[in-house]
Every structure is written in C-alpha cells, then in structure tokens.
C-alpha cells in the first residue's frame, strides 16, 4: 500500500487518483470548480472585512493561508489515513475549496507591493511569517487529527 500522497491536489502515484479523470472527468472537474469558487469567495469575504493598504501587513490573506493549511492537514489525514471518503471529497474540499481559499499569487505580489511602497520590512516579515505559520499549521492539523483519529480507531477496535 502506498503511503499518504505528497501532493494533496492529485498524486499520480496513487492508482485511484491517476484514473479519476478518465473515470469521472466532469464530476471531478465540476467538484473542483464549485469548490474553488466557494473557497475564493470565502477569501474575498475575509479581505473585504479586513481591508489593507499596499504597505500594510496583509492579515486577511495571512490568516486565509494559515487556516487553509491547518484544514488541509486535517482533511488529508481524515481521508487518507482514517477512513476512505467519497471520491469527490478530495477534489471538492481539498483541490477546490482549500485550493481556492488559499493563494500563493496574492502572497508574492503583496510582498512585492510592500517593497515598492517603501515598506520592505513589512514585506520581509510577511514573507517569513506566512511560511513559518503555514508550515506549523499543516503540521498541527496533521498531528492533531492523527492523535484524535488514532484514539477513535483504537476505541473502535476495542
């Protein structure tokens, strides 16, 4: 049995994921599309609620990326290590919602804009803090969910 995937969007080492586009092309792409739209709207909602200028720390994007990383850690443990989920759960929630909710492009462009607007320290702090917090969030999501589901699995077995 192959270990958990490395790529949460699609890992071609896993036979089922390799075949999913052939088996259900429109279902898979439709779930990703719908999830992506919902995730992007959630990110937009956060940015509209807490607007920031070009030289300011982009807190809403920071929190979207960090919370999205926490949630992908939780989701991936649940569907790859705990119980097999419906075949559209990963495309919809993982690839779609969380992929649409988090963003790398806004992250890099906001760093660039901070530097351009004379706030290189803000840009650098944002760059480093997002990376550190996002990685810590994935780790927390994975570890916490493993601990909780491990306990649950042991209870089920007992």
């Amino acid at each position: 049995m192959p270990g958990p995937p490395v790529d949460s969007d699609v890992d071609l080492h896993i036979a089922e994921q390799r075949a999913e586009l052939r088996r259900a092309p429109w279902g898979t792409l439709g779930a990703i599309s719908a999830g992506g739209a919902l995730g992007a709207l959630a990110r937009y909602g956060l940015s509209s609620a807490f607007p920031y200028g070009p030289g300011e720390f982009p807190w809403p994007v920071f929190w979207a990326n960090v919370s999205g990383c926490l949630l992908i850690g939780v989701l991936m443990v649940l569907i790859t290590e705990w119980r097999p989920a419906h075949r559209l759960v990963r495309p919809f929630l993982g690839v779609g919602v969380l992929g649409g909710y988090t963003t790398f492009s806004t992250y890099t462009v906001d760093v660039q804009r901070a530097v351009e607007h004379g706030a290189p320290r803000v840009g650098l702090a944002y760059l480093a803090l997002t990376l550190a917090a996002a990685l810590a969030a994935v780790l927390t999501g994975v570890r916490l969910t493993r601990a909780l589901t491990g306990r649950r699995a042991a209870e089920d077995a007992g």
Partner: protein, 118 residues
C-alpha cells in the same frame, strides 16, 4: 457583480491547477512537486502583471482574485512541504519552500516589468 466575477474566475482557475498539476507530474519521476510549483509561479506572474497595469475592478476580480487566486495555492504547497519532510526528503522540502518563494517573487516582478513595458 464582483462576487460573480470572482466565483467565475476561480471556477476556471482551480480545475486548471488540477489539470496542470497532472500534466506536469506525468512528465517527470522526481519527488519534487513541480506541478504545484508551476501553477504558483504562473499565478504570481499573471497577478504581478495585472496589479502593475493596473487592471480595472472587474478584470481584477475575475482574473486576479478569482482566477490567479484559485490557480495558485498555499495549502497544497504547505502540505507537500510537510509530506516531503515526513518521507525523509528534507532537502527537497527546503528546496521546495525556497524555490517556490524565490521563483514566485521573481515571476511577480517579471509580470510587473512586462506590464510597465506594455
């Protein structure tokens, strides 16, 4: 209207990330996540260009917040980096983080330069 344009842009961007990832990953054997790297760099370039033009509100909502936002991803990038560490590929994890950020920033700057040239 803005909400509709963002949703529409993301409805294209997210599946394009999935399809690009598949296409890139099918073409190499390394554990390095080139697929996600590609979409994140491409998204940074396009958004850098749009932000520097600067594009109008509608274009920015559709192509920037929606399309580029959903084409690129931090959750997959973060998950892959952690999984590389768990699999013992520590140097690939560090390389992935460093290269994604360096190339993403470089692409955003290139996008801005192209926008100024236009």
């Amino acid at each position: 209207m803005t909400i509709l344009l963002i949703a529409l842009g993301a409805a294209f961007g997210a599946p394009l990330r999935y399809l690009t990832d598949r296409a890139v990953q099918a073409r190499h054997d390394s554990v390095f996540p080139w697929g996600t790297f590609t979409v994140n760099v491409a998204g940074s370039f396009v958004l850098g260009l749009l932000a520097a033009l600067p594009a109008g509100g509608g274009v920015m909502a559709f192509a920037g917040t929606g399309f580029c936002g959903a084409l690129s991803t931090y959750s997959t990038f973060g998950y892959e980096t952690l999984r590389l560490v768990e699999d013992g590929a520590r140097s690939y994890a560090v390389l992935n983080a460093a290269a994604s950020i360096a190339a993403g920033l470089g692409a955003a700057y290139c996008g801005a330069v192209v926008a100024q040239a236009l």
